[in-house]
Subunit: 343 residues, 3 copies
């Protein structure tokens, strides 16, 4: 494990230091489960109660919390962001960092790999693939023909990138992700469903993350597009011809149907279903468990999820919900009657 | 890229030609983003407004739209189906089409491969596997012992087919799919859960599609059955002993629990949950985001999804929903009172 | 196929025998689709109607059903649990049981494998990995550096276990599962999202099951913890720093967000969304299709799923639901009016 003097960290990240700069920091921990040598952070006031008793050696926190910090501190206007940067000091060195192309990788002679590209065991890189310098392709990956992968992009183990996919620089593709697979296009015929050829590609910008076992389908005619800075969590489905605008974030288990056009800087919660052929404006927030079935005319904060109740209570409520339209009609009748009797 | 004269396409697909048959077609594009040399289609009237200004060289469209087409046209009673067939002319040739079994595939000597079978790098084909002629097994796939794969079935990269699975002819299995994995069968005991052995298989008919990262579990006692022509999108869970009737289509992120019996020619939307031990009749449509918790007595069009509202409005509505049964009782009391006072 | 005398099975599992102990049993089948030589079970009274006509050679059933059994029987107070144990006699022998480490596996010389460990073709085991005796690593798996896998744990094909993951003894990890992938931690900055390093691990106890294509993310600071006996179905997302208490079962397509703390012996249905930073007490049941958005103060049986209705009925109800708060206000006004007029 690397270790640093707290003063060294303070200087590197330009943060005011409070307390003993000679404190050695060799890793991270939480406020409530701190340990000697670890640095942590306080960003959410819900955790403020753990500050007085923390066993951390140092805490990254805001100016207003600094006076009550019992140990050394780095003071930041955005403690979580500062933590994100400082914690990167403690990421373990990549496995296999000393090897370039594993002897058991299968790299087509007609693929082009930039400087310092690393390829793991049993990875397959087909003909025509171009990989930018510093990129990593994990063990067991399949990068099909004619893909282009940008510099410093990190593709984890067992990922599948289908032919002719474009991925920008500094992206992170997590294990099991499938990018560029056939879109789900079917035309009905008398003899059953006929496959509609999916002739578009997937085009992913720079600085994107694609989560574990997430799937992004290639376009039917035009491309499926994921713009710069988009972050997708695990087990998300992105169908053909979707566009995700830059810096949009999508949480796990969400499905986005074909030709949905989602703006920039949106926050889409987990387990959301977004139907196809609709648009969501820039800066929209969709809360977890919601269904978006039509174009949203303006940005905002949208929901349709229902939190649990005790089943016996919920079952009664849902029974009434299933008759709600009738109840409203009954109520209208009462109202009408009352109005009449008041006349 | 291959290229064709429009008259040649018209003749091959038996479609009336309007305009210049000598027009060269070398690919597809949309009405709104057309280009010289591309053919597109007009099937949804929502897109009719793009017809007058299209930059396509030719359009596949219905007889009623033909008069307003500014470029050459192929006239079809079902433009989308015609497009599906014509677009297949432009599917890029398969990578590796010139090799049969990749030198880095691991094929058990006791597996039997038909004529013209292709197997990608690092694919593993275990003993007793039988693969029909013309089938393709992608790079990184694992086909476990005793599976049978029909002729011309296409298994994409990194697919897992567990032992003794049966797959018919002309199927398409997309990357990351897992077929024939252990069903989720557990019996409670004093010492925790006991695994119930899953001794059935998965049996898939002809002309089926199984989407990327979709999972289909093997049966507990009898088989899990997917009939001819069934099409499953990505990230779908099909539990043990489910039956999916022929030509049924299921959209992404849907889960189907154990022993659900789903009829033929159903359309199951995305993000649907179908509970177990129930049946859905032939020809039923379940809209996206729905929950099917009981047998549906008759075919029809079913829903239970709730579209989003502005969160502040929705939160008020959902607060009331959680007390709905009580409100209905109150309303009944008012009604009763009114009735009394009218007596 | 192995075959046993029924009396032999009765003795081995200490179950009273009714009828001919010489009956040969060579497999399992259901009551309704029985066959000569097969044993089945009757645990759910819904299936009792199939008992009189069964073609099974023997049935495992409760004492009260024994008198009406037309064939030989084993009598058990828990027929399903007894079936689970007996059926294990008929699990086919593992493929490749005769080989230890496949010649095409890539095992780092600095990995440590216990006695009788089996490793499939094209599996990759990186440096520092420790695997307990009797464990199996399937074809195409990637076990990244410094993982520890307990004795007799069975890892199916194409699984990815990311670096430094801990998995206990006798676990079962199904194909395509991804364990220990980066958690979804992002800090906003002026220039877009900054990755928060995920420095925790995944720690899984003994006797756990992780379903096909299920994903379990590594912790951000502390570990993600899955305790002994937890069983996860397919396509489940477990985010960073979740804790799942012992013997909890989760059905398919469920997502559990970061830092959710779920107690022991819970039953979480399919397609459930559990939000983050909340807790669910021991012994809680959450029914399928529910959303858990806050800490549940006490154990119980919770729901929020809505079963489908005919779409034309549901659409009317949902239209009213979207105005429910207003209707309740109207009703209150009527009530108030009535109260006034009664004064």
């Amino acid at each position: 494990m690397p270790s640093f003097r707290l003063a060294e960290i303070a200087e590197r990240f330009e943060l005011p230091l409070q307390g003993n700069g000679a404190t050695r920091i060799d890793g991270v921990a939480t406020l409530q489960n701190g340990r000697d040598g670890a640095i942590g952070f306080l960003a959410n006031r819900q955790y403020r109660r753990f500050l007085p008793g923390t066993a951390l050696s140092a805490v990254i926190l805001g100016p207003s919390d600094a006076p009550s910090c019992p140990v050394a501190a780095l003071i930041s206007d955005d403690p979580y962001l500062s933590y994100a940067r400082i914690a990167a000091l403690f990421i373990p060195a990549e496995q296999g960092g000393d090897r370039a192309i594993h002897s058991r990788a299968v790299v087509d002679p007609d693929a082009s790999l930039g400087a310092n590209v690393r390829v793991g065991a049993n990875a397959v890189i087909e003909r025509g693939v171009v990989i930018g310098s510093g990129a990593v392709v994990g063990a067991g990956c399949v990068i099909e023909a004619d893909c282009a992968i940008g510099a410093d992009t990190h593709i984890a183990s067992n990922v599948t990138i289908c032919r002719d996919t474009r991925i920008g620089a500094r992206c992170r593709i997590l294990p099991g992700a499938v990018i560029g697979s056939r879109g789900f296009g079917l035309a009905p015929s008398k003899h059953g469903w006929v496959e509609v050829p999916q002739l578009g590609r997937v085009v992913i910008g720079d600085d994107c993350e694609i989560g574990a076992n997430t799937t992004v389908d290639r376009g039917a005619v035009e491309d499926t597009v994921i713009e710069n800075g988009v972050k997708l969590d695990n087990l998300i489905q992105v169908a053909h011809n979707v566009r995700l605008g830059e810096h949009t974030v999508v949480a796990g288990c969400t499905g986005i149907a074909g030709t949905a056009d989602i703006g920039a800087r949106c926050l889409i919660g987990g387990a959301v279903a977004v139907l196809g052929h609709l648009s969501i404006p820039d800066g929209t927030r969709i809360n977890a468990g919601s269904l978006v079935s039509r174009t949203l005319p303006e940005p905002g904060n949208y929901s349709s999820g229902i939190p649990v109740q005790a089943a016996e209570v919920w079952n009664k409520n849902v029974a009434r919900l299933r008759q709600l339209s009738d109840f409203v009609s009954e109520m209208r009748a009462i109202q009408h009657n009352n109005d009449d009797s008041e006349d």
